[in-house]
């Protein structure tokens, strides 16, 4: 409970900071709604009926009605602007206020969090639920304020006119609550029982409806039969479960809806009111009518109020996720650290070992290596040998478990992370384009480019071998990239994307260039062109090139062969061939195919 409250206070603080007046108006609005209903339907009706019953002069009733009319219609004026303008504009801002914090965090989160599927799922859930948790919170505020307003206004009215009525309301409410709780539990149990079958049902539907599986189903009709059968069985089980509980459910519903509710309030309570009017003459007609009409609302608002802790508890679970995510302390601190010295320096890895968690096995073991400025180093090995992990450490996406990496003689940990990353150009196999102009995709930050800047971007693209494609683009650097939200946008092919990625490295004038299997998904011509572009890019830079296709790495100054996380061979292509070890074997297997006809 404490947690639930503190979670909602946390959310309130963020929202209030972003839009204080809006949040206050949300509260006022909920109050206004119920308050005017009370004025119109309780006070108003009672007053005019009273006037009619006791033959008061007409002008009294008329004035009251006109005042109410003016007040309510007047209250609709700000309400219109609130609903049609303010809310529409402010809600997206509230969402952003929370998501901004999450984005900042996501960007400094340790990359290892992404490798942990449990953590990653929580994280995705937190992001995707953040908007809904705000919606739910606003709804809760609305609910709570409305119920409290109604209970206060209605309660006072009953206390003044018929305190016994409150007893009826409370009794009915308590009994209904009890029956509803039982009923919910019954329903919940059925849901739990049905859950696996529903999952099965959804799974089969997905397979049949998604295009991803369309080919498979057409090629393997027996699989289809199996799935159909499972689908039928799942539905039959659900029917069985539903039938089993239906008796209990009907009984509880009868208690909840009729015996504790309609019967108690519409038969017994009205019988009691009639008794007071007809037999005791203790109540006038008009009050009796209004009392009979308002009991339902009063009881309903009590039910709402009891719902609130349940709903708040549910919402709190999601806020928990958001907060847990925001409270995460990344191991790699992003904002501190010193500048990186100018110019290309020596990169030294000494006695480095790495594992993803203290329980897991070492992915890299006792790696030492030195890269002089401008040296080209190829890292080769089979899948799972640790190549990619090693370069991730060089980029400081992880910190070593043991040993250290230094650049310009300083441990990478001492540098400001952003500044260090700015000195580095990286090309992967799966490079992403971002929704924005081509120029933005090259410099990748939020500044508005001036003419000089545009020239630099263009030069970078020309150097990366993109100029032919660039000439064909009508809008040139302003071409909108990806069709994510611009239908007129351009989707580049794999090879083109990678050239843009290389242009990013040129634009930054990085000292270190890291290329991780950039060409494995390309057709031979595209691969060749990419290699030529990279060759150009590599001039005067320290280069790390990862590949398991040795044809692309043979010209390196030094080749490092990794196996099971260790460096097993090191040297130039010729030296390694002469050694006749693992590298030579790997080379032979690959070259064999091309040379021996």
């Amino acid at each position: 409970m404490k947690r639930v409250i503190s979670n909602h206070i946390f959310l309130w603080k963020i929202l209030f900071k972003e839009a204080p007046f809006y949040m206050l108006y949300v509260i006022y609005n909920a109050f206004r709604y119920q308050f005017f209903i009370f004025v119109e339907h309780t006070l108003g009706i009672r007053y005019v009926l009273h006037c009619a019953e006791y033959h008061e002069p007409f002008y009294k009733a008329a004035i009251a009605v006109i005042i109410i009319l003016l007040l309510t219609t007047l209250s609709f004026v700000p309400d219109g602007f609130f609903q049609q303008g303010w809310t529409q504009k402010t809600k997206p801002r509230l969402y952003r206020a929370l998501k901004d914090k999450m984005y900042e965090k996501a960007a400094e989160l340790d990359l290892s969090c992404y490798d942990n599927p449990d953590y990653y799922n929580e994280f995705v859930l937190a992001v995707s639920e953040s908007e809904k948790s705000i919606d739910r919170f606003l709804e809760l505020i609305d609910y709570a304020v409305q119920s409290i307003t109604l209970i206060c206004t209605g309660g006072v009215f009953y206390l003044v006119n018929d305190p016994i009525g409150i007893v009826f309301c409370i009794a009915s409410f308590a009994l209904t609550f009890f029956a509803a709780k039982k009923l919910n539990k019954t329903n919940f149990n059925v849901r739990i029982k049905n859950n696996p079958f529903e999952r099965k049902r959804n799974y089969v539907s997905r397979i049949f409806y998604l295009r991803d599986f369309a080919k498979e189903l057409r090629l393997h009709p027996e699989m289809k039969e199996k799935l159909l059968e499972e689908f039928g069985e799942a539905n039959d089980e659900i029917v069985k479960n539903e039938k089993k509980v239906s008796g209990m459910r009907i009984f509880l519903m009868f208690l909840k809806r009729y015996l504790f509710n309609d019967f108690l309030m519409d038969t017994i309570y009205i019988g009691y009111l009639a008794y007071r009017v007809v037999v005791l003459h203790g109540l006038d007609y008009s009050t009796s009518i209004v009392l009979a009409g308002r009991t339902g609302d009063l009881k309903e608002s009590m039910e709402y109020l009891t719902d609130i802790p349940v709903k708040a508890g549910e919402n709190s679970l999601y806020i928990d996720k958001v907060r847990a995510f925001l409270d995460y302390k990344p191991e790699i601190e992003k904002h501190t650290g010193s500048d990186v010295p100018e110019g290309s320096g020596e990169l030294v890895v000494s006695n480095l070992s790495f594992r993803y968690s203290p329980e897991s096995d070492y992915v890299l073991k006792d790696i030492s290596l030195k890269a002089a400025p401008g040296e080209k180093i190829a890292i080769v090995g089979y899948n799972g040998s640790g190549k990619t992990t090693l370069v991730k450490l060089l980029m400081r996406l992880y910190d070593p478990s043991e040993g250290e990496i230094t650049y310009h003689g300083t441990n990478l940990k001492e540098f400001n992370l952003d500044k260090f990353h700015n000195r580095m150009g990286v090309v992967f196999q799966d490079f992403n384009m971002y929704g924005g102009s081509l120029a933005e995709n090259v410099f990748l930050d939020d500044h508005e480019p001036d003419d000089d800047d545009r020239k630099l971007v263009k030069e970078a693209l020309v150097k990366s071998g993109f100029s032919d494609r660039l000439d064909k683009l009508e809008a040139g650097l302003e071409t909108s990239v990806t069709t994510e939200f611009d239908k007129a946008g351009v989707d580049f092919s794999g090879g083109e994307k990678q050239k843009v990625a290389i242009a990013r490295a040129f634009y930054r004038d990085a000292d270190i260039l890291i290329m991780d299997e950039p060409s494995s998904a390309l057709d031979p011509i595209a691969e060749y062109n990419l290699n030529v572009a990279m060759h150009e890019a590599a001039k005067n830079k320290t280069v790390f090139y990862i590949s398991h296709r040795l044809s692309t790495t043979r010209d390196a100054d030094r080749i490092i062969m990794l196996e099971k996380g260790r460096i097993i061979e090191e040297g130039t292509h010729e030296e390694l061939l002469r050694r006749g070890g693992k590298y030579a074997k790997m080379w032979e297997v690959q070259a064999n195919r091309y040379i021996a006809g």
Binding site: I45, G85, N383, W587, V589
Partner: protein, 622 residues
Amino acid sequence: MKNNLYALKLLFKLSPGIVYCRGFRRIIGYAEWLFYSAFFMRYIVYAYENNESYGKIVLFLGIVGTVFAFVTVYKNFNDGYATPVCTTIVNKKLNSILFKKALNVDLRCFENSDFYNKYTLAMQDADTRLIETVDVFWGMIFGFIATIAAFSFVFSIDKWAVLFVIFPILGNFIFNVQLGKIEFKRNEDMAYHNRKIAYVNRVMYMTEYAKEMRLTSALSLMKKRYGEALSGIGEVVAKYHLKGAIMHWLRCSFTFSFIFEGVMLYGAYRSIVSKTLSLSEYAVIIELMVSTSWILIGFCDSCMTGYKNGLFIQNLKNFMEHEPEIPEDYDGIPADEGIKTLEFRNVSFSYGEENVLENISFTLEGSKTYALVGYNGAGKSTLIKLLMRFYDPTEGEILLNGRNIKEYNLASYRRLWATAFQDHMIFSATVKENVLMRDCKESSLDDDERVISALKMAGVYDKVSSLPKGIETMLTKEFDEDGALLSGGEFQKIVVARAFATDSCGCIFDEPSSALDPIAECNLFDNILANGENKTMLFVSHRLSSVKNADCVFLLADKNLAECGSHDELMKLNGLYAEMYNKQAVNYLAVSENDWKTISEAKGKTGRIKTPAGESTQGGAC
């Protein structure tokens, strides 16, 4: 309206019970409402005024209470038994129809994003939405009847009071509809900005962007996009908010205030000044006006939702009435003579306007091996889909043993081929079932052997046998917490094993090795070739080294078969294939002689390097 009737008919066919349930539910709902607001209080106040005995009031309350006890029992039976059971039945029956339909939809429709979007809309929760449509339809019908009934009650009490009903009618059917239009337009204008926000959101949490987010300042670029979207939304809101606020005021005032306060005032006048309205009638007429207003709101909502549902039903109807060009149960003569020849004769194909393939002719002969190569996007996969008869050619024909493949029974034609595609899909079932692709509850030892040997050939048996239940292990965690999640390469190998486990005359492999490392890849190709003896075999690959051993290579370029012949012939031709090959091989070839010398020297020292085939462990060689 027509669509709603269609929905009613369809649902009635699936489960008449649910149609009645929903109908009665609506009738009872409105009847109860009208009874309480028009009769109940009126009777009691009338009894007050006429000094009826208390016993009479109690009797009345007793009768009402008893009647409603029975009504509630029926309602509860409806909600607690009939609805859940019928809903499940509808789900089962409707989906069985839709599944069969979905299976019959031509594959090219799936690839048409327009069709696919509409189709997805039609499929999403089709069962619950169909029921909702019928429910809303009843809401329209009985809402209308209830509205008329409410009017006549008001009329029976006071014929002039009925005129006040004009206010909520204006409020609902003029101003509310206008407001809906404004909101619709506003949302339409906002959609672009919301898409932008959704995009930024996705980029922020998808793993594939995580590395770049750290290495570059793309975060600030994405935040800029977000900011742009927000100011965009602000502008859209500013454009509509005045109009919206005015309509909102008109709607609320007319629907709630004018009628309510109007009737209060009018009733007070009639009751106090002209004394033509009794107190009970006055009380009832106020209550009745509130109810009428809400019945109208409900009716109006039903109409608007009914209209929206109409669009959904239209999509569903289109889909149900869709006539596939190549139905799955396409019948014809059985293809039981094996593959002697398979000929493409002047085949052209286009997805829309432009041809993807143009005038392609070639012949595959039984028990030979063919390779298909070309640029990314040259149409290789399309050609294979034509061959599998997922599509029919736009022009030209494909002949099996001299007969157009359209003449064969589709299922028996497809059974001629074993296939493995690059966009493989794994089912949430056991490894064995994923290889054999059928239910394996009753399977023989033969099956097991077949599965194991296929997995071995695909080079993934070592991995599978290391799983706790071997080939009986469930794949994916969808239904089984202990289900196995394999790497992309391993899943790919299992898909390839499907082809190995199938006893067929022909094999097709579409880039089966894209996720594998070179050693595993070349092992796989050796096995593919070994398995392909006596079979017609066609495979697609970018690695030209693995293409060399094919009997014939087809090179697709510019929508056409640019080159065709054996590797040696094509190299001699010195065209595009030779260029591709050389570019890929350049570094291997450039210094080959030198390298071979060094390698053979090295061999002299370390002994001959063995090349055992059929093993894919790391460091092993072909």
